[in-house]
Amino acid sequence: MKIRIEQLKKSFGEKVAADIPDYGVAEGEILGLVGNNGAGKTTLFRLMLDLLRPDSGRILTDGKDVSRDESWKETTGAYMDESFLIDYLTPDEYFRFIGKIYGLDKTTIDERTSRFDRFTNGEIRGQKTYIRNLSAGNKQKTGIIGAMLHNPSLLILDEPFNFLDPTSQSALKHLLKEYNRDTGATILISSHNLTHTVEISTRIALLEHGAVIRDLPNMQGAAETELESYFEWKEA
């Protein structure tokens, strides 16, 4: 799925959260969004998911304005934070609910969730525990699986490595790379973890005050040096 951002602006009072005149993400890319706190990464994702109204401009997925046409929802999967989870369901019920919305039958849902068994380390499927009682890491995993369940051609994950133990972080990296390779899906992730972002992204966008200040191709980790120099703390 291709994404085009045109003259996008969003402010909260005086604070500019998004200011992107023109930007595009090609089909099959893995784009990593990096930036300090308040750079506008989450706001940009929310705008892409039509959860926020832009002050001006628009975002097009496959040529369609996300705020005017809902067809992108069929082929987009996203996990932003806990508010994406229905916490009084068990993980299995949540997957079944999501699956049914996308027209999947029980067998398909079971088959698809079983793909994530290594990632979940057997701690999610079959558990008779409501999501609200899961650990932060397992909630994160539940959300990520819910986002990928219907094989979306656009996957948006906000800080997906948060709360995950090192093994799960590594498993997630492989999972995302494999998913991108097998399905050709476009993947957008934001993260404060530069190592993971550099490792999996084909391109990295560096955000500051809502604007993309650097657009870095990242074949063989080429963006690493530039990112390190940007984020290095320098004594005044």
């Binding site: 998911l49 039509d50 929802k73 932003m80 934070d81 508010s83 229905i86 919305i101 525990t129």
Partner: protein, 496 residues
């Protein structure tokens, strides 16, 4: 110094509650609610003193009331069950360089100084002015009020002690059961408790030092015990882990036949049954519905049905409206907890509303089953029952669903029913009021105009029209909701 700091922090916590930030009416509502209760207590105090004066000739009014002091203390005990315990509140202060005993003692003193301990005086002072002052003057009223305040403080420490012990081990629940059970047995057997209340009350009115000394000694003993037990409870509270195991997960597979709507119906049913706020609401309302239905049956089966028909009709309307008024009126407010996730998926809003509506229509079968016996074996007209059933399904529920357009504050799913954030806007209160009164008013209007049978038929017709036109009004609601989705989502997000 420490006590001052704790009190200041508590006041700030109350003043800066997020609910007040998001809802400018909330503070006024809390004040209004408190003022209402204060006025109500004054009213009861005055009325009771008049009733005792006119109805009981062998006892003075204050003696009659003092006989029931134990009952008053039991009610106070029940009210205090919702208050936090010192061991639960102490956590933010534990790492400060202050001795734990000093901290606990400061919290205990703070319990004694709580303004709530004075709240019952709204009842006792007016009662005293009416009953005590004619005999003992102002001094008698002051002595009585001071004594009641001391009793309330002692009761506060007793409640904290009993609750802390119960949190340490559930077997300690036997302590209050034994105390109150024993008190009741003692009273029934010997009448000693009411005599003690009468003696203590009169001692306070006469300002006898022994009366105050007895209560102050009880406070001192309770404080000492609390101080020891609270210290032991701190580590238990810190290490406390709620039992989160889910013993039985019901799937409601029979709803699968309704397709995608069935999924949302299941979601609504799970929302109602699996969250503290909604499940407490549901259980309480079911109990009230059954109770009202029994009373309806009793009145409908009696000979004087005609004189009671107004009450019967009210009970009937209440039973049908109860779930909608209490649960459906918070449409979108509960969903605010996870709406972002739903909105990022296709067609979810329409199906969500449809699922909610269909489930609440199904829930109407509960009051229908409860009320029908009054029509079958009593004098209540079956037409009226079915009229209310269809009217609720086709008019009241759609009206309550319009609140989806104005409810823009997320309601917590795990707080108490009267907890923070359950009341959204003034529209919610008005709609609830209309939902409960409109059917009664319409009945009053239609019956004289068309006759009872035609009036009931009109209710059925109105209800069926609302049910059959469901796709039209629901799509219109959904369209309007989509138009204001950004503002709604932002508000719901900000009030989570």
């Amino acid at each position: 110094m420490l006590l001052k700091l704790i009190r200041r922090n508590r006041r700030l916590a109350e003043r800066r509650s997020p609910v007040y930030d998001k809802n400018r009416y909330a503070k006024a509502l809390v004040y209004a609610f408190t003022a209402f209760w204060a006025a109500y207590l004054v009213f009861v105090g005055v009325s009771l003193s008049i009733a005792f004066r006119e109805g009981i000739s062998c006892l003075e009014g204050y003696d009659a009331l003092n006989c029931g002091l134990a009952v008053f203390l039991f009610i106070d005990f029940l009210v205090r069950l919702t208050f936090p315990l010192p061991a639960q509140e102490i956590k933010p202060y534990l790492l400060l360089p202050i001795r734990k005993r000093k901290l606990i003692n400061a919290f205990l003193v703070q319990i004694g100084l709580k303004p709530f301990n004075l709240f019952w005086l709204f009842f006792f002072v007016p009662f005293g002015i009416m009953s005590v002052m004619p005999l003992y003057g102002i001094a008698g009223v002051v002595g009585y009020a001071a004594g009641i305040w001391l009793l309330t403080v002692a009761n506060a420490y007793w409640t904290v002690l009993a609750r802390t012990l119960t949190r340490i081990h559930i077997a300690w629940i036997l302590l209050p059961i034994l105390v109150y059970g024993g008190t009741l047995c003692l009273e029934l057997g010997t009448g000693w408790v009411s005599s003690l209340g009468m003696t203590a009350g009169e001692g306070m009115i006469r300002m006898k030092p022994s009366a105050y000394l007895a209560v102050v000694s009880a406070i001192a003993v309770l404080c000492f015990l609390n101080s020891r037990i609270q210290q032991a409870a701190i580590y238990r509270e810190l290490a406390r882990k709620e039992d989160n195991r889910t013993r039985r997960v019901r799937q409601y597979a029979w709803m699968d036949k309704f397709g995608e709507t069935g999924e949302y119906m299941k979601l609504e049913l799970k929302l109602i049954l699996r969250n503290k706020t909604t499940s407490t609401n549901f259980k309480t309302l079911t109990a009230i519905t059954v109770l009202f239905a029994l009373m309806t049956f009793w009145m409908a089966a009696g000979d004087d049905f005609d004189s009671l028909s107004g009450t019967v009709h009210f009970y009937c309307v209440y039973c049908f409206c109860a779930y909608g008024v209490a649960i459906l009126s918070r449409v979108m407010a509960y969903e605010g907890n996870y709406l972002d996730g739903l909105m990022a998926r296709k067609g979810s809003l329409y199906n969500l509303l449809k699922g909610k509506y269909c489930l609440h229509c199904l829930l109407l079968l509960i009051p229908l089953c409860c009320i029908l016996p009054s029509a079958v074996w009593g004098n209540l007209s079956a037409g009226y029952v079915f009229g209310q059933f269809f009217f609720t399904a086709g008019v009241t529920l759609p009206m309550l669903m319009q609140l989806a357009l104005v409810n823009d504050k997320t309601a917590p799913l795990t707080s108490s029913v009267w907890g923070k954030g359950q009341w959204n806007t003034a529209y919610q209160s008005v709609t609830v009021f209309v939902a409960l009164t409109l059917p009664l008013l319409l009945n009053k209007l239609l019956t004289p105009l068309l006759g009872e049978t035609a009036g009931n038929a009109a209710n059925i017709a109105l209800g069926l029209a609302g049910m059959l036109s469901r796709p039209i009004w629901m799509k219109a609601t959904c369209r309007r909701l989509m138009k204001k989705r950004y503002a709604m989502m932002e508000n719901l997000r900000n009030t989570r």
